[in-house]
Symmetry: D2
Subunit: 385 residues, 4 copies
Amino acid sequence: MKPEIRLGMVGYKFMGKAHSHAYRDVGMFFDMDAKVTMRAICGRDEEAVKQAAERLAWESYETDYMALIKRDDIDVIDVNAPSNAHKDIVLAAARAGKHVLCEKPLALNLEDAREMLQVVKEAGVKHGICFNYRFLPSIQLAKQIIEEGRLGEIHHYRAVYLQDWLVDPDFPLAWRLQKEVAGSGSHGDLNAHCIDLAHYLIGEFDQVIGVNRTFVKQRPIPASMNGLTAQASSEYGDVTVDDATVFLAQFANGAIGSFEATRFASGWKNGNLFEINGSKGSIRFNLERLNELEVFFRDDPPHLQGYRTIMVTEGVHPYVANWWPPGHTIGYEHGFVHLAYEFMQAIANDKPFSPDFEDGVRCQEVLEAVDRSIVERRWVSVAEV
Amino acid sequence: MKPEIRLGMVGYKFMGKAHSHAYRDVGMFFDMDAKVTMRAICGRDEEAVKQAAERLAWESYETDYMALIKRDDIDVIDVNAPSNAHKDIVLAAARAGKHVLCEKPLALNLEDAREMLQVVKEAGVKHGICFNYRFLPSIQLAKQIIEEGRLGEIHHYRAVYLQDWLVDPDFPLAWRLQKEVAGSGSHGDLNAHCIDLAHYLIGEFDQVIGVNRTFVKQRPIPASMNGLTAQASSEYGDVTVDDATVFLAQFANGAIGSFEATRFASGWKNGNLFEINGSKGSIRFNLERLNELEVFFRDDPPHLQGYRTIMVTEGVHPYVANWWPPGHTIGYEHGFVHLAYEFMQAIANDKPFSPDFEDGVRCQEVLEAVDRSIVERRWVSVAEV
Amino acid sequence: MKPEIRLGMVGYKFMGKAHSHAYRDVGMFFDMDAKVTMRAICGRDEEAVKQAAERLAWESYETDYMALIKRDDIDVIDVNAPSNAHKDIVLAAARAGKHVLCEKPLALNLEDAREMLQVVKEAGVKHGICFNYRFLPSIQLAKQIIEEGRLGEIHHYRAVYLQDWLVDPDFPLAWRLQKEVAGSGSHGDLNAHCIDLAHYLIGEFDQVIGVNRTFVKQRPIPASMNGLTAQASSEYGDVTVDDATVFLAQFANGAIGSFEATRFASGWKNGNLFEINGSKGSIRFNLERLNELEVFFRDDPPHLQGYRTIMVTEGVHPYVANWWPPGHTIGYEHGFVHLAYEFMQAIANDKPFSPDFEDGVRCQEVLEAVDRSIVERRWVSVAEV
Amino acid sequence: MKPEIRLGMVGYKFMGKAHSHAYRDVGMFFDMDAKVTMRAICGRDEEAVKQAAERLAWESYETDYMALIKRDDIDVIDVNAPSNAHKDIVLAAARAGKHVLCEKPLALNLEDAREMLQVVKEAGVKHGICFNYRFLPSIQLAKQIIEEGRLGEIHHYRAVYLQDWLVDPDFPLAWRLQKEVAGSGSHGDLNAHCIDLAHYLIGEFDQVIGVNRTFVKQRPIPASMNGLTAQASSEYGDVTVDDATVFLAQFANGAIGSFEATRFASGWKNGNLFEINGSKGSIRFNLERLNELEVFFRDDPPHLQGYRTIMVTEGVHPYVANWWPPGHTIGYEHGFVHLAYEFMQAIANDKPFSPDFEDGVRCQEVLEAVDRSIVERRWVSVAEV
């Protein structure tokens, strides 16, 4: 008989839906060393959380996260409430001996993130952060190619995360646009992903300098909100986060890079793109075409060199054999399924999970160094923060 | 209280997995007018079907499809066993008053398909055929654009379905390569999809002429098989279906077209592509990039005309609002979720479902006209068959 | 001292401009074994040809092609007058001992083409036909890749030549739309290129069957014309050529293929595309991106296989070293420069030139077999015609 | 009778060839208000310049630029010698009353560039700088779209110029890698183009900050060189310019941007790309596909929005009607033909030419501000330099 891993989750909006789907599907496609049960979902609005429980297939619901944490029929707390709630929930959960999986960014600031790391380590629980893009087959393949040495010495890293959902000035003042709830804007939401992928693929940042903009400074206060969408009212409030943040980076390995996160790139919906140039080859990725990876190798015969577009949908590619036959593409949500698989396996086999809170802190350090560089208008070393 | 729709399914390989996933997920993302329960899965190999039931989340299993059909706690029979088993199961299910959803191709030949259509009509049950690609948001958008009159009069239809999994001569003789089980090869498997999409988007075929090839005439007999994959043995058997079939078409509306299905197109994994050219605009689709649709409009300002790539991932696009925020792509399997949604809704509300067995027969007529044109080396009118 | 090759040319519209440019530029970029001089251009309208001579840098002009041919200061006659004039000019030139370079199609019908071939052979002059696309670096590279055996056995050839300049029903009845002048429509103009490339790259056609359409049957008679463009008048005349011709082909090597030429493909300007699938790899080409060639190789490591896009702009690629540094693209007209180089070199060194009138006849045979297949509604063997 | 413009040119390598070609071809494709004659080419190596004169179709040659400038049969001096020679030649030419067209960068430093500007203004001669990419039809179309107000308020500018010809550490120490001859490396050579396009399209830079790298610090001293290519010897010398320079920019209009120039981007040959995001739409350009321009408009119907790829090859597009029919692409060199046309027309009609030395200085100011920001590790205002 397989052991059981009993889940509790705080949050039930966009991320709550993505996580629930992952827990529900993972056992259908992956051989698990444990049986996963979805015990309880938690939110403050009873009517809403009750509906979410039914819709998202949780066995029960709670309206108080402390009640959830105290339940002894729960082993893991998944935290995907708004960012300003992460810390308190994580601390309580860890101290109660629960394993913790937390959405990014870990916290509103680096200090909190470090405290959270310390607490989970002291508690000896498993901890993970939802850098879900790491778990796409194309990203796993990129990692494999780099580890095989096929890019050589890395010279350039170039990343952008381009969206356009704020170009419309009438888009309302959602929680993601309020600093006290979200911590930051496109920087913490989008650059966080870019920074983590750079960490994962080419290593540590040394120094950074950036600039940001809030192009639309006031927006209608929403009458009601649901996930990323919201209905506007006639009152206006201040946007207190960045619409766009661009920064340069010098990496520990000598490479240089540029990063940009914006919600003002007309025409881009979820354009998380990066390119890596090394002495032996290059890699390009675009999240809007997440089943593909483009690679270039300088050791191909000279007359046959060119960027090749790999359809990362073959059985030889990471995770793919668990899904469909070659060429049958997967979507955004599958990254969460893979992440859920790995986190559950880590618990079942008592092995480390990556990315963990260390990675969350590491990402937060870079985010904070960039923010400081913007305020102080100078290069900031990540070691400083 | 919502009524319940109780499902039984025959088949548990590639398609069984895709269908099961759809039934399991559909209620998480769509507002259903019925509650869907997955009562029993059926297959002849008890050990295998038992494991499938557990893995794919069915409440029970059967090893005899007649036993399944006789159960009075089941309302719908989903048929995704190999093609040669479709007819008997469908006839029995319909005669037992069960609604029937059948994988394509409906039958091994047109005569059988017509009989199946007659029986489901006489039985008065709902009937559907799994032309799943109709249910992609991009295809739905293509349909909408055409219905809005944005292409004008249609002149050209150009479709290919390109795969490469048979280029390797050591790939074993799977059931899909045996005429008595599969009915036909790339023609019935892949051209069937292309023909249905043409039917759906631009209407009836008038005349066709084709040519086919079996490039590798003998293949190793498989020691064991699983879905599309198989392990080879040292004995060889005859491939009795086509590796590739290409044909020309004249449509009832005056348009001309070309169609090609092949499993020998090195580099293509699941390349179901088509292009439609009309007097006012054009549409292009590629299944390997199923979240995108390319369109061209002649009434754009002359200096600004160009094929535009629509990311069909906005809330205004069909089905998308039920999934993720803009730009968060979906995969191959989502077409089945949408199909399941529509079929369940048709049952719940006693409304017609499309595509139904009429569409299945219509597709089979074209397939058969092409086959006859190959044998008789002449243009064959679809009305002839 | 280099010998001199003295040119005369009949025709001064679109092709006359392209050829003149090639003769003028070739010596600036290529080491020639002869000095090329542009002696005289010929056309019936004295004012127009006089202006053309000045604009296109010819030393003199003639209004009678026999006068041109009789001049003993001319070695080569370049024929790019409308198609119905090719035969008489070529016969006269060859009989006068002039080398002949003729635009495609060679003649209005196969019989004439064969007579032209016989005459140039008897006359012992150099003969060439302007299948200019052969001379693009990307096409030369495709040829090289095939000759290196990198595609293996050829299974599929898929070619389209897509334009949209006739979609507008008000486009006037230019000479290219009149059978007595142009011979045929999109078939002779565009499929001729596709057929020649197939000949060049994969060899002989065995059997063909096609269908065609004239979507717009009457058009305004032009008040004036210039090359491809024309101004409409208020009278209408019959379009006597095809707007689109699609056909299937069985090749001598066992491959099957489809071909399509149309001037009704909204959104396509000059889309001469083909794809070749072989047992070891594939090639794709698109004339609208003529500096690129896409290739796929099945012997790449399994996890790294993908279509690669070669920028055919490196010094190692054919002809490229004579132009600009890597990545500096060339255009449509450069194919003519390369063709001019090869034809001049063939004369200077008394070596054969390819493609010659044999290739022209070979292409015409396929064109005619397709036309016959359309009339007789059956497969026609190229050997028949 | 048209007036004559008599040209002299200093330099005969890569740029000399491109310019010569432009002068030779321009009259064949454009209606000029003057007759252009190529009087004399100048270089220090007599044998080489003599051959160049013959190859590139100049009537005569000189080995001393002062001799060239003193000739009274010459009206214009075209300067495309290495960058360190620009200043002296330009000053002498202008003081002799010759119109001057100079390659970029204008000078090795800003002080020299400003002096050159002052001298040409005092001399009252026409002056132009060869920012050739402005003259591509696609760039002209981008400019037109912006001027039509179709992008709205500009938020983002993102430019890279990616090449890979220095990735190989054995590539020799060409003059472009020596500071005293070239002034700078990828920054002055490639970012100069990016900066000029940004100036042209969206206006003034306010502040910048950058970082650069010289990845390969020593290279073999070349035994011989020809344009961009060189043969290596066994001795090594120091690379004294940057291999790559990346910088951030804040524009006067409030937009933010990033710029990168590198010769170490494996797989990129001549990848001059930019993207502009505005409140109403976006534009993307890639020099490796210079016949195309991608645009996005937020006022398209919501379900039909997408980046469209305009083939900038229609008669309605800038300069295109002078070349070939729709869809017949042009190459890199055509930008020089258009530039030559505009400069000659400016002289013939005594009208201003743009880009002129003002633009050259403006570009140099940004280059220098970036260089200072690198040294001083801080944001530098362009107004400072």
